[in-house]
Amino acid sequence: MDAPTPDARAMPTITYGPPIAMLAEVTHRCPLSCPYCSNPIELTKRDGELPTEVWVDVFRQAAELGVLQMHLSGGEPASRRDLEDLVTACREYDLYSNLITSGIGLTEKRLAGLQERGLDHVQLSLQGVDAEMADLIGGYKGGYSRKMDVGKWTTALDLPLTLNAVVHEKNIDRLPEMIDLAVTIGARRLEVATVQFHGWADKNRAALMPTREQAKLCGQRVAEARERLKGTLVIDYVPADHHADYPKPCMGGWGSTGLNVVPDGRVMPCHAAHTIPHLVFDNVKERPLAEIWEHSSAFNAYRGFDWMQEPCRSCDRKTRDFGGCRCQAMAMAGDAAATDPVCIKSPLHAKMQAMAQADAQSDGELTYRVMPK
């Protein structure tokens, strides 16, 4: 370690290198209105979105900073007419480009054009295994059928395809069919991600929270399918942490591996960080990305271990799970520096599990994501 500089005491312990991945939420516009959307409740309108040239410059800065993978997301990134230019910029700066899409807004021709411009990978969302379920959750009639077309076009073009299935109380039992679908359509990867209950999803806890039994069966099925489909389909799994005993290592540690730029240019350590009200986010319109990564107060707020309270501070798991999810701590403990209530050592653990169980056993109307007028 270097000798401490005069202001070192005010600085957190440096435990991070350059970011590996950037999530570019290029728009909040989306034809779908999934009730668990990870976008904030207060969505940015079209006129608040960064223009093409600013995104392109941010991509250049990201590549210089050390970002290897650029995840083009939204909203629906295909809602932007300049998606082609954004993909071109990724290739120009030698960034691996990943299109995270609902499929709506893509045609076979547009997809082939994106591939020509250097698109590396397509991640297609899956709301269900039939039109009835998928269109109910997505709130968009005809969405499922279009999605299946997009999946087929993608694999026919020899673009690698990942299906991203968000699972919850209403569709988690149909996981075997989702796995079959992924194999049939020729996806190389399947992400099975249990709904994370922030933002919009938090409004839908009663409708979407899986039961402990459902979550357990899902985990067993994933393990079985991974073994059976080795070399055919890779499965990534985000379990239902409300039914777990230890928290997930959220973001691999706050501000350690990735950053998220939202449509209006603010830079966040994760896509739910806006739920922590006291954080102040710097904007790429006002500050270079490298400076934001290193000095932004929001990024430094929970970096390393110095911010931790007990029981995290003296816990030997802290280097593995980093105290869990800051946004979940904020939501349940009212303090983003508290232990994630998912952890069995949290004083709120029992309360959180009881709430999750109550939500799992009740049902409710779906509250869909809506754009402001």
Binding site: G17, P18, I20, A21, E64, L65, G66, L68, Q69, D94, Y96, N98, D120, H121, Q123, D158, L159, P160, T162, R188, R189, E191, K230, G231, T232, L233, V234, D236
Partner: protein, 91 residues
Amino acid sequence: MIPENDIPRLLSGCRTKYDKVRGNWVLLAPERAIKLDDIGAAILAETDGVRSLGGILDVLAEKYNAPRDQISGDVVKFLESLRDRRMLEVS
């Protein structure tokens, strides 16, 4: 096992790149960036979709002046791990 006559090939969407910021080679793949050590980088540099496994072993043995039998196990293990992760195919 991979027979020596078979040809390994990185799948579409999987490519290597020299990471100037960190000073090492990486394999970029869907949702993954894998840091390559010198051996991994050397193997993938010869995995061009034309050479057979046997051909790759010949080149590596010659280039690094290493006994072919000794490196064979590591090379196959590495390629198989990429195949299991759907980043490489063998034909």
